[in-house]
């Protein structure tokens, strides 16, 4: 191979926080009291808390060393399917840190909060425009929270018509959050098997849809990276029985400006601002999962709603049909700022972003399909799904190939998801990865496939370059140590 990014480097050891420091140190500047001490009765006060005392230097060195054990989008290519690990623009961080935003209290009167209310109002408009929907709520704190919000909206909508339905259709390609969100709403999940092309079949939906069924939760493009061709017909069938169609927007990065979900039969959908709209994933959160809805569902949206009256923005609480709050305040506002900043930076070029994301995924699919098994050989959207079937004879699994990629300096793709594909390898390059890097990734993957045939132990023993090697996850779960 010509050249690859992964190499060994100097990695520092670092103990746990409480194994460091000395009693009496402090890493924060505490003001000198300007009022008299007012003792609180012993009955209310605690014994000394068992936190380590550290200096600022101790703290800075600790977290700097920890950070160096991590792989982030800024470190290298992160083709984690379904997660849209695109570049996180630095200007977004500048905007979110503005003192007027960072220091804003959420319960001040609207007259003192015009800047944040305007931002929220406009972001709702932008997201409604992108999805072709009528209205948007920004309260949900994450994608799964958005799904739950939408299920609550469906529940409230049916309730307003005097109906209480008990089941919901969920395709076998769905994320686990879909059935779990539906369960929280008391809905029983009915599995819809996808057809031989990896998408929903109109006939199967027609067989399963009835008047006790709330509707369907569709991820489109689906988790196989395929567009649900039959979506319009599926929606017609669901609507004909009084049902509603939910769109999981996890894969929206494929179709911005290409498809407007509100125009193809979707009644409510969530967007993952941390995927499609470039906000940092933060090692697992916080994200934001706004929900966009058609006009029929607007009365049920969480309160308060941001409204505009002339040049003034206000909060409206008295929506009698609203499901109520889903967040203590206005959602993950700090994330909303970043997404707003991203949309304003991109404008109409959001469509270009989707085009490039889809082009890159198809390019990888074409360049690897001779060495990796491709279960659905048709044009994909922004991600492509392979399996380890061709490597089975060498006793090399998806996990082994994923771990070997680490040694070469890549974050592995998503593996073993979607569940309907055995040994799935789901690659999503995103639009922000330069072609040279994509070519290098392809070259690396091909080299790994060759290693699998010639020296499979290289893969079984991978990774060898990071701070730690494969972890004993079984003991971790059997004898959990969750607290130090």
């Amino acid at each position: 191979m010509s050249h690859f990014a992964g190499t060994t480097g100097l990695i520092m050891n670092e103990p746990l926080l409480w194994e460091k420091g000395k009693k009496g140190r402090c890493g924060i500047s505490i003001p000198t009291p300007d009022v008299a001490a007012a003792p609180l009765d012993d009955e209310f006060t605690r014994d000394e808390i068992d936190f380590p005392d550290l200096s600022e230097v101790d703290v800075v060195r600790h977290f700097t060393r920890l950070s160096q054990w991590n792989f982030g989008v800024d470190t290298g290519m992160y083709p984690l399917g379904s997660c849209t690990m695109k570049y996180n623009p630095k200007t977004n961080e500048r905007q979110a840190a503005l003192p007027g935003f960072a220091g804003a209290h959420p319960m001040l009167p609207p007259d003192l909060s015009q800047g944040t209310l305007r931002l929220m109002y406009e972001l709702e408009q932008f997201l409604s425009e992108l999805t072709g929907m009528y209205a948007t709520t920004l309260q949900p704190a994450a994608g799964a929270h958005g799904e739950l919000t939408a299920m609550l909206l469906f529940y409230a909508c049916h309730k307003s018509k005097g109906e209480k339905r008990s089941k919901i259709l969920i395709p076998d390609t769905a994320h686990g959050t879909n059935p779990a969100s539906a369960s929280l709403c008391g809905y029983k999940s009915i599995l819809v098997e996808s057809n031989e092309d990896g998408i929903l079949s109109v006939e199967r939906v027609a067989e399963l849809m009835d008047e006790d069924t709330v509707g369907i939760m569709v991820t489109n493009p689906n988790t196989l990276g395929l567009f649900e061709d039959n979506i319009k017909k599926v929606a017609e069938i669901v609507h004909a029985k009084g049902g509603l169609v939910y769109g999981d927007g996890a894969n929206m990065n494929a179709v911005m400006g290409v498809v407007k979900m509100g125009q193809i039969g979707i009644d409510a959908m969530h967007l993952n601002l941390h995927k499609t709209f470039s906000t940092p994933h933060g090692g697992g959160g916080p994200g934001a999962g706004p929900v966009c809805v058609v006009k029929e569902l607007e009365p049920f949206l969480p309160v308060p709603r941001v409204i505009k009256d002339g040049d003034r923005y206000d909060l409206k609480y008295d929506n009698p049909d609203s499901i109520g709050r889903v967040h203590a305040f206005h959602g993950n506002f700090g994330i909303l700022i970043r997404a707003y900043s991203y949309i304003l930076s991109m404008g109409k070029e959001l469509k270009t972003a989707s085009q490039h994301a889809v082009l890159s995924a198809n390019y990888i699919k074409e360049k690897l399909k001779d060495v990796l098994h491709l279960p659905f050989d048709r044009p994909c959207m922004h991600e492509c799904v392979f399996t380890d079937k061709k490597q089975e004879p060498y006793k090399v699994s998806t996990l082994d190939m994923a771990k070997r990629l680490i040694d070469y300096g890549y974050h592995p793709p998503t593996i073993y998801f979607p569940l309907v594909v055995s040994g799935a390898i789901m690659i999503e390059p995103t639009e922000t990865e330069p072609k040279e890097n994509i070519d290098q990734f392809i070259e690396t993957f091909r080299a790994i496939v060759k290693e699998a045939e010639e020296n499979p132990d290289l893969l079984h023993n991978a990774p060898v370059t990071p701070k730690v090697r494969r972890m004993d996850e079984v003991t971790a779960a059997r004898k959990p140590i969750l607290c130090g």
């Binding site: 007012a38 605690r46 503005l98 697992g284 730690v468």
Partner: protein, 443 residues
Amino acid sequence: MRYLPHTSEDIAEMLQVVGAETLDDIFATIPEDCRFKGELDLPKMSEWELNDHMSSLAVQMAVAPEYTVFVGAGSYNHYIPSAVPYLLSRSEVATAYTPYQPEISQGTLQAIFEYQTLTARLLGMDVANASMYDGASGLAEALLMAIRIGRNKKKTVAISSLIHPHYRNVVQTYFDPTDYNVVELPYLPDGTTDLSPVDDMEDLAGVAVQSPNFFGCIENIQAVSDKAHGCKALSITAFSEALAYGLLKSPGNQGADIVCGEGQSMGIPQSFGGPGLGMFAALNKYVRNMPGRLIGKTKDVDGKDGFVLTLATREQHIRRERATSNICSNQGLCATMSTMYMASVGGTGILEIARQNHDKAEYLKSELKKAGLEVPFDRPTFNEFVVKCPDGFASKRQELIQKKIVAGIPLECYYPELADHYLLCATETTRKADMDALVKEVK
């Protein structure tokens, strides 16, 4: 566009490989009638235009130091040491995903293990999870967890009416489609929860109070636990001010089974109410019923210590419709931020800062009392308290806003019986001079 690296040459090469003529062709599998043919109606700005625009929005906000804001109510102005945002901006921390590949995520994993540990110590509990969205959804999840632990046989939960009203709204939203009941407990004249209705309740899975409660008063958590356990229900403690436990007796020390609340005070900017940090902790025996992610300590194949996501069989990606919750993420970056904060203040510092919060609020309370305002609830408070103002204070408050002082929030919209009552807050960042100025104004 600076985030889109493909040149026209790159695009031409790639199109050729995929067998398409134009960028539109690659969407050929999308049926014609599903495609949007128009142009997106979205504005676009250069970076410097964006900077001007965003700054123009941010300056419209009432924030310190221009304004003196005596408001807490679930969002608190505490001092954040510069090292915290600085460290957090390291992109290995901010731009990483969920640590599914432990070999290259040990930084996130160790930091969250440290977060779990420090949170458990703060709250006096056995185990804390990797965090929930916020204090409100954390409470809803805690109540659902209590019902799960009772094997769904007991369908009622009792919650104090002195839990943050927004948290109670969220609980109501979560519970609406279920067949579980939420009963609100009234409050006593001293500003704490009236537990007496609990005796007559059947079918009770859990009793939840907030401490310090929405009026700022310190609840007797031990009494709640005794009462709950007497009915074979769980004792749940909620909170909106995590810093209080730097000074106050921990819920774990007073018999709590589940503790959940908002950790924004631990080094996280207020940011108009989010993102916050849903701290969530429980006794060991309930860990398999907990919602959310957990990080555990283990070893690698060479015997080296390290950390992994664990007990995932509770979670949605494995158990799907039978998961303990639908939550998929955690507030990773906020949890990390709070760990950096807790490490910075340390055991000695957190006690001192918490004390200063208490002392400042006591000062303001006593000065307002001297100025003729009534303090209706005599239970001890932490950094917030209720005052009853004379008739017509609403217009005075408006006047003060013109002078850039926000004198608390009115309680009447949440508690109709509390007309002219206001909730005020002072933290370590509130200066005596500003408190004196407020007192002078209301005299």
